[in-house]
Amino acid sequence: MNKKMKKNVIKIGFIYISMFIILISYLSYFVIVKSEGIVIHANNRRMDPVENEVVRGDILSSDNKLIATTVTNGGDSVRTYPQANRYSHAVGYTQKGKTGIEAFANVELLRPDYNLESIFKRAFEGEKFQGRDIVLTIDDRLQTAAQNSLGDNRGAIVIIESSTGKIKSLVSKPDFNPNNVAQNWETLITDETNTPLVNRVSSGLYPPGSIFKIVTTEAFLNDNNSEADLSYNCTGQITTGDNTIRCYNDTVHGELNLSSAFAKSCNTYFINMGRDIGARGLRKTGEKLLFNKSLPLAMEHSKSQLLKGELIPDAELSATYIGQGKTLITPIHAAMITAAIANEGVLMEPYMIDYSKDKKGNIKTKNLPKYVDEIISPKDAKRIEELMVKVVQEGTGSKAAVNNMYVGGKTGTAENEGAKDHSWFVGFAGSESPEISIAIIIENAGRDASASSVAHNLIKEYQNIR
């Protein structure tokens, strides 16, 4: 009996070894993987007092422009933003809580890289440790161009590098000066018409207007094949039940195929196309393109909405095919769909922090591009890309064209009850093939194609700096 017992005792020994290895592995997993979210959790106040002994790191643009820095004046340190309003929504603020990159990269900004020199300086001269610097993917020249071209309009611009997901520019207006947030706090939080603290790029939900025809087209191609076409004779109006929708400015477009209809943004054509697709088909494609879902995106954002609810009235469904209806989309989402089209259907996760470095310039943590999914088949993506190039060559987006640049896009006018319409442009540009993708919305811009002109400016600036 005793021998058998001892054999079983050894077995129990092995059970304990495996149980304790599980404990150790889980703890390690927790530290390596889960703790990132723990450290930046809003309820976790443990890092707050660290600011007393670490000088918060700087934030820089990809072209090395200083965006945020901490100025130490005697015992006091003050966070200052030399570019004032330009990065208000991208980088956020540090007075009255932290937002944007300041919140997201809080730990990295406060993470000192101890070395003998810094430890001795701390010990003998009472000097504070230096936190790490954050280098963004945003290019200051594009950011400046975007800021200027929006002018005093309300709206949003986001530029993404299609093949990597790097955010090259992110502007939301109205903005604020992060240097005086505390001072202007009352106005900032009470101004409900301008809502300057809202980041419209990620949280602004807008009716997409005609840029949604991209989604309708993809639903059609997905149902048929990438080469599919459809002929239709536009008479300037189309009736579903007792609801009649007209083409823009009551234009009669006549005989159309997909390419010409897309270039001219013919409403009746796409409502007719929608009859082939149906609500289920459109919702399926829409959800593949991340409508009604959280986006793969680190920053806080709203969910775009498409065909919510079970029973959709016919009139609403017709309107949905051309982007009216109840559909809502965020500018960053529109830019992501465009970027996927420009990147052979593959969506890369948009990100704003390129890398962090210590004060000696050694790179500490580097963010690598993250593959999300192939949300459109490569063939469909190529076809839509061609359709979008046509829009700029000879269609509604011709104002966006830039000499010696390969540009494609889609314009949109979102009807806005009781006020002037919003103007949309989504598109891509590059020297020979798409490199950057852009989404622009200008609130209440009226019926002139102003978003296309802004796109022109930005692409021109990109041409200069690339």
Partner: protein, 461 residues
């Protein structure tokens, strides 16, 4: 102040260093790989002692330097010295009574106790002072009591063990006080001098004594069914009492320990699976019956849902563990006091926060070494009763460690049990150390046949 901060930041690496050296030395006692450096071999327990000495010195130095109150500084100094005296005395007594081979295991639990005491000093000086006294008392009991009472460590007393167990486990129903949501405390005395104690801690020892004797068979015979029905029902009765007293962790420890002893005694995997099956069923019934069980499971599944309510404790523990990375915040530089009941159930989170997660992993390793060391001792024992007794003790400790560490890091639902040798708590400290004494007694009497039915040693050899 900056000096001190620098010292504390550097001390994090020193603490991890002590831990690694200590683990390395202690592990050699388990693996028993003959070491070529015979000088090293001779001085292994001295090296262990040196680790404890300097760990204690470094920990107390930081705490004394951080303390601004002169009186408390002196209190800290006294405690620091007192603890090291306790450690030194333990080694000395074992050496002069020619029981030097027991020193390594005592050193392991004293190192664990030292980690706990330094953490307690940082959190609550009064509790630390009491803890040192409990530790000294526990050592006194562990070193001498099993030998003084060796007539009572005999399988013939099985009925006595069972009855004593019943009496103790039923007392909280009559005299129980509630503490931390459990009803398993009884208070002795009143006012300032009152102290609480957990009868279930003592029942642990009686349970393994009882099961080890009741599940014993005559040489070579298989355990027949009649024989284990009564012991298992008794164990089930104890467990039910604990569950009714809301001591879920205790119940689970009793259950798994009983099952393991049954498995080894009967050599039947079928019985083991049957036990696990009925245990799972009982747990499911418990889940539907008791709301406090559901609350625990709920808080484990998604503590973030109710951060300020049910999930508060576990979320604070996760913040403590997750904020500072591998090397921790440095002693006194973290915020472990934000975790409720940090000195008892959650002390592991506090250790991970301030000494770092690498050190925390070291603590887990140290327990594993303690368990494997115990198992190695068992393999030399030819008396079935003593073997089962030792096995029970090892399981009581091992399961408890797994439950509380796993609970604190949210691997499994939290069951409020203490971390043996480390957590604050008189009964826990006394009984845990006493169990090590009993294990050493078992090791020392492996050839003793006075309490043995199975006189199998000669046959096997």
């Amino acid at each position: 102040m900056a000096y001190l901060d620098m010292f504390i930041l550097l001390s994090r690496y020193v603490f991890v260093g002590f831990m690694i050296v200590f683990i390395y030395i202690s592990a050699t006692f388990v693996t028993n790989v003959p070491n070529k450096l015979s000088i090293f071999e001779k001085h292994k327990t001295k090296l262990q002692y040196t680790c404890i000495f300097f760990f204690n010195l470094a920990g107390y130095s930081i705490l004394i330097a951080r303390q601004e109150d002169k009186l408390l500084k002196i209190g800290l100094l006294k405690n620091g010295i007192m603890f090291i005296v306790v450690v030194t005395l333990t080694g000395w007594i074992l050496r002069i009574t020619k029981r030097s081979k027991e020193i390594p295991m005592y050193n392991i639990i004293l190192f664990l106790a030292n980690i706990g005491i330094i953490m307690l000093e940082r959190l609550n000086h009064n509790e630390a002072s009491k803890q040192i006294i409990w530790c000294a008392l526990g050592l006194g009991l562990a070193l001498f009591l099993p030998r003084l009472l060796q007539v009572f460590i005999n399988h013939k007393f099985r009925t006595l063990y069972a009855i004593a167990g019943w009496l103790l486990i039923l007392t909280p129903f009559l005299l129980g006080e509630e503490k931390n949501g459990a009803n398993n405390w009884i208070m002795i005395g009143s006012g300032e001098g009152a102290f609480g104690f957990q009868p279930s801690e003592m029942v642990k020892i009686l349970l393994v004594l009882y099961l080890a004797s009741a599940l014993l068979t005559k040489d070579g015979k298989k355990l027949n069914y009649r024989k284990f029905i009564v012991p298992m029902l008794t164990a089930a009765g104890y467990i039910l009492c604990l569950v009714l007293q809301r001591d879920l962790g205790g119940g689970l420890i009793f259950f798994l320990t009983s099952l393991t002893i049954l498995y080894v005694a009967s050599n039947s995997i079928l019985l083991y699976l049957l036990g696990i099956g009925s245990g799972t069923m009982a747990a499911m019934i418990g889940y539907t019956l008791f709301s406090h069980v559901r609350v625990r499971v709920e808080a484990w599944r998604d503590p973030w849902k109710d951060i300020s309510g049910k999930g508060y404790q576990i979320v604070q523990a996760l913040f403590a563990i997750g904020t500072w990375g591998w090397f921790g915040s440095g002693l006194t530089r973290g915020y472990p006091e934000k975790i409720p009941v940090v000195t008892s159930d959650f002390i592991f989170a506090a250790i991970c926060e301030e000494f770092g997660n690498l050190f925390g992993i070291g603590v887990i390793f140290l327990y594993l070494i303690l368990i494997l060391y115990g198992i190695r001792i068992l393999l030399d024992i030819n008396d079935d009763f003593l073997l089962l007794l030792g096995l029970g003790i090892i399981n009581l400790i091992g399961i408890q460690v797994f439950l509380i560490v796993g609970g604190v890091i949210k691997l499994i639902p939290l069951t409020g049990v203490t971390l043996p040798f480390v957590s604050y708590g008189g009964s826990s400290m006394l009984v845990s150390i006493f169990m090590i004494g009993l294990l050493q007694y078992v090791a020392d009497h492996m050839e003793d046949k006075s309490g043995s039915i199975a006189n199998s040693k000669m046959v096997e050899k």
